[in-house]
């Protein structure tokens, strides 16, 4: 189940680009997930539920689908 690795990559991308500075919680992540990305959305939700990171404990994943193979982070809602 590579969705755990993808969840960690998403956190890493947000962290490295300083989107999590001073953030207490991430309430929502809007993700664009390609039909050919090889990602199972339910497993990705499960992965976030089980991340060892308090900031993501109540996060809602909001998916937009596309016909390609990329996974992009569109927007986040933070407190």
């Amino acid at each position: 189940m590579h969705e755990f690795s993808i969840a960690l990559e998403i956190v890493d991308t947000l962290q490295k680009n300083e989107y999590l500075e001073g953030v207490k919680s991430v309430d929502e992540i809007k993700l664009n997930i390609g039909k050919y990305s090889g990602v199972d959305k339910n497993y990705l939700i499960f992965a976030f539920q089980n991340l060892d990171d308090e900031r993501f404990k109540d996060v809602l994943l909001n998916f937009i689908s596309n016909d390609g193979d990329e996974i992009t982070i569109q927007e986040i809602l933070v407190d």
Partner: protein, 236 residues
């Protein structure tokens, strides 16, 4: 996990970034480290014949004057690397300890250990799994998906990502077709419906086939494909 009906009061931040950009950055480093070597990332379910293909292909590439090297990826054991060691070429085994795919960081670690100075073609045998490895760019030139006829002709439709992302599909174990209901025509039709640009090769590679006897096992076309790619990358 929150219910979507909960009223949200937080700040909204527009991101618009590749979710896997950390992996992508390391994959780009790998690409630079690969240099002039042509790199193929083999994807397939367990047992479709990735290592067997390497055992058949490598001696021919060597006798044609090319210098292959192999990075093996497995969840457990270095059994595949031991098979490659028999071919007397540089090889390195990544053991993922349970992880179902290779990522760019693992391959970067392998590149620090693989004696690849002279290699003009590097094969990466990914973990046997038709889904998970597809999400991670390793810095390779192409992905090649191997599908054995014993897996059934519906697999390109059921696991489309591997076929969508690959440049090449190798249909292996065609020697077993007389014993199966699988249809090569159907496999090709299904794969091309996912990716119309796939280059397709039909092969078999039984252990006791004499090395170099590639007239009737379909490997010669795939070998020409690789040799052309090696030469065109070197001359760039």
């Amino acid at each position: 996990m929150l219910n979507s009906s909960r009223r949200r009061v937080g700040r909204s931040l527009s991101i618009q970034r590749n979710a896997l950009e950390t992996n992508e950055a390391i994959a780009n480093k790998n690409k630079r480290l690969f240099g002039k070597a042509f790199v193929i990332n083999f994807l397939s379910s367990p047992g479709s014949g990735k290592t067997s293909l390497l055992e058949s292909i490598v001696p021919i590439l060597k006798s044609d004057g090319f210098k292959p090297a192999v990075i093996e990826g497995d969840v457990e054991t270095d059994l595949d690397k031991k098979r490659i060691d028999e071919l007397d070429i540089p090889a390195y085994q990544i053991v993922t300890n349970g992880t179902c795919h290779l990522d760019a960081k693992m391959v970067n670690g392998a590149l620090n250990n693989l004696n690849r100075k002279d290699a003009d073609i590097i094969f990466i045998e990914n973990v046997g799994n038709l889904v998970c490895p597809t999400s991670f760019n390793l810095g390779e030139d192409i992905k090649a998906v191997v599908l054995s006829v014993t897996e059934g002709d519906d697999k390109p439709l059921k696991y489309p990502a591997a076929f969508y992302k690959s440049k090449v599909m190798i249909i292996n174990k065609i020697d077993l077709l007389p014993f199966l209901d699988s249809s090569i025509t159907k496999i090709k039709e299904n794969a091309l419906s996912v990716n119309k640009d796939l280059a397709i090769f039909e092969t078999f590679c039984k252990k006791n086939e004499k090395a170099g006897n590639i007239e009737n096992n379909g490997l010669s076309d795939f070998i020409s494909f690789m040799e052309n790619n090696i030469n065109s990358k070197v001359s760039k």
